[in-house]
């Protein structure tokens, strides 16, 4: 036996494929962002967009239009919104991937299992009671606590023997979502008109109203979350063998579990605090990429972050431009795509395992 046999396997075949997918996603993301920056009620051409962006970075190209509101529209209004979308998309996709890894189940997603509801409930509580304990961090902090409670609950209720069955996971998700929904309804009932509007905004999911400060808050949280995901990626591969076997291979299972759960809550709270509940991103993106580049988690974290960002960038573009003079809720659009995809996944899972295993 030589090493040759080993090197001819998909692990190495998938290296180039991963590179290709990553580059393609990154290019598509940049193109989508530039297109999105130019499109809308006030149109700006792509060259002008690039010119404005470069000028903002201190590079003069002569492409940027002089004396027009274009620069204000692009950098003041659209850019923070699009960047927030990119960051939120990456957060949601990576959170989904992390949950799927620790649940050992490809159907886990922040929206489906109720983590987003929990986070929205926490955020709504902080708003309804007018809390400002942690200044501008108050809403994200409460979203984090809500999300953390939700993800811990789902995890410990739905798992048995180191794995989570599809049915148990989904039923637990229904229950958690119901509790979260009831809480949100209660806060809607308690609140003023202004807070009610905010709560409805969370339930639908929207990037409307994104400003630079919110981006400054969300981006570091998501960056931390993604770095943690990259660090634990190899251990997550071993988790696929089951908890006992992962432990036999040297993984500190309990610690990894806590780290991943907290990271999921962090990513979801960062996403939910400023964009509301955007479901199914964490389900669709990791799944599609797993089919394309295989289930190893290190490449999946990277490509899922890009894929999630791309999906939200595109969905937000549709949300802003599909209906003239209106801003549709982005959560509606992702659910419109994600719902049928989820059904297809369910049917396929059932067929493959010959039942609801």
């Amino acid at each position: 036996m030589t090493g040759e046999v080993v090197t001819r396997t998909p692990t190495t075949h998938r290296g180039p494929r991963f590179a290709l997918v990553t580059v393609a996603l990154a290019v598509a993301l940049v193109v989508a962002c530039i297109a999105s920056l130019g499109l809308g009620q006030y149109s700006v051409s792509p060259t002008e967009v690039v010119g404005i962006l470069l000028r903002a970075l201190g590079v003069e190209t002569g492409w940027a239009p002089d004396a027009s509101p274009a620069a204000g529209v692009v950098t003041g209004i659209r850019l923070p919104r699009i960047l927030l979308g990119v960051v939120v998309g990456a957060a949601l996709a990576v959170s989904g991937l992390l949950m799927q890894a620790i649940f050992g189940n490809p159907l886990a997603d922040a929206g489906v299992v109720g983590v987003s509801s929990g986070a929205a409930l926490g955020a709504a509580a902080s708003l309804t009671f007018g809390l400002s304990t942690f200044g501008m961090w108050t809403t994200p902090a409460f979203a984090f606590v809500g999300g953390l409670i939700a993800v811990f609950s789902v995890y410990f209720i739905s798992r048995s023997g180191g794995r989570t069955e599809v049915v148990t996971l989904l039923l637990t998700g229904i229950a958690i979502n119901a509790i979260g929904g009831a809480g949100l309804a209660f806060f809607t009932f308690l609140g003023t008109n202004a807070t009610r509007e905010q709560i409805v905004f969370w339930q639908l999911g929207s990037l409307n109203g994104a400003l630079w400060p919110s981006l400054g808050l969300v981006a570091p949280l998501v960056a931390i979350g993604i770095v943690v995901a990259l660090v634990v990626a190899r251990s997550l591969d071993l988790f696929a063998l089951g908890e006992r076997t992962a432990r036999h291979l040297g993984v500190r299972v309990e610690r990894l579990r806590i780290v991943v759960i907290v990271t999921v809550a962090l990513l979801v709270c960062a996403a939910v605090a400023f964009a509301g509940i955007i479901a199914f991103v964490g389900l669709v993106i990791p799944h599609l990429l797993r089919m394309t580049i295989g289930p190893a988690h290190l490449p999946l974290v990277i490509s899922s972050a890009l894929g999630g960002a791309l999906l939200i960038a595109l969905a937000d573009l549709i949300a802003r431009t599909a209906v003239p003079l209106a801003d549709m809720p982005i959560g509606m659009i992702t659910s419109l795509v994600g719902g049928p995809f989820f059904l297809w996944l369910l049917v396929r899972t059932r067929r493959r395992s010959g039942g609801w295993a």
Binding site: M1, T2, G3, V5, V6, T7, R8, T9, P10, T11, H13, G104, N105, P106, R163, R234, D237, L238, F239, A240, L241, G242, R244, T245, R247, H248, L249, G250, V251, R252, R290, G294, P295, A296
Partner: protein, 258 residues
């Protein structure tokens, strides 16, 4: 032979104050030996196995690996010294066979031994005859193929204390014998191998030492032919058997009296 993995006076109670599923059990797994754990269903084999693997912390008793308390050894360090094969070998995501086998090398990441990864993986896959499956997804393998992939993963770990829980359960006749031969070869090379077996004949043919459990207690431990006598088997299993040598090879056979 030096004792590698030693459990002494181990008692396990699932609930405090409840009945013990393992009572005052002791076992020594020595270098160069295949040590079979034998007993009827519910005798405590799996529990004793889990105690040796470090999965179950006993209420009382000590477990040592090379003289050091098992609980005091950090998981990664432990993984560089002993490998465990469980009966349950499902893989959550469609990793390829080679990826799964390579996971056995995880304990050696960022150590000099990492350089041996490719060779160890290739050798383990060849030994278990899963090389042709290398590029296949484990999700679509048969139970027997998956069991062999799991065994390859354990071999790739490259350690000389092996714990195998019914490694032959899902396998056909030829692969059963292959696995047992593999275990014996590893022992001949100096490894300490503990193996849970249901097949008494296999234990007589391949094991150097056998420990017989019944109702949570160790009934006997020693050379398989001393431990697995018609009397002890009948007493523990409640089934009369005959044990006699194979007419050609002389290996003892266990046949239920029908």
């Amino acid at each position: 032979m030096t004792a590698r993995l030693v459990a002494t006076g181990v008692t396990v109670r699932p609930e405090p104050g409840g009945p013990a599923i393992l009572q005052d059990a002791s076992i020594q797994v020595r270098a160069g030996e295949v040590h079979a754990l034998i007993g009827p269903n519910g005798a405590g084999k799996s529990t004793l196995f889990a105690v040796l693997a470090g999965d179950v912390v006993p209420e009382s008793g000590t477990i040592t690996l090379d003289g050091a308390a098992l609980r005091g050894i950090p998981p990664r360090e432990l993984a560089r010294r002993r490998a465990v094969l469980l009966q349950q070998n499902a893989v959550s995501f469609p990793f390829t066979v080679e990826q799964v086998v390579r996971m056995g090398r995880a304990p050696w990441a960022r150590t000099p031994a990492e350089d041996d990864d490719d060779a160890a993986v290739a050798a383990a896959m060849a030994a278990t005859e899963v090389t042709p499956l290398a590029a296949r997804s484990v999700s679509f393998l048969s139970g027997g193929e998956r069991a062999r992939v799991a065994l390859a993963r354990v071999l790739a770990q490259g350690v000389d204390v092996l714990l195998l829980d019914e490694p032959t359960a899902a396998l056909d006749l030829k692969h059963q014998e292959d696995v047992l031969r593999l275990a014996r070869d590893r022992a001949r090379e100096g490894a300490a191998v503990a193996i849970v077996l249901h097949d008494l004949g296999a234990a007589l043919a391949y094991a150097d030492t056998a420990t017989l459990l019944s109702r949570g207690r160790v009934v006997a431990s020693g050379a398989p032919s001393d431990v697995l006598t018609p009397a002890s088997i009948e007493e523990v299993y409640g089934q009369a058997v005959d044990v006699f040598p194979h007419p050609v090879t002389g290996v003892p056979l266990v046949v239920p009296r029908r």
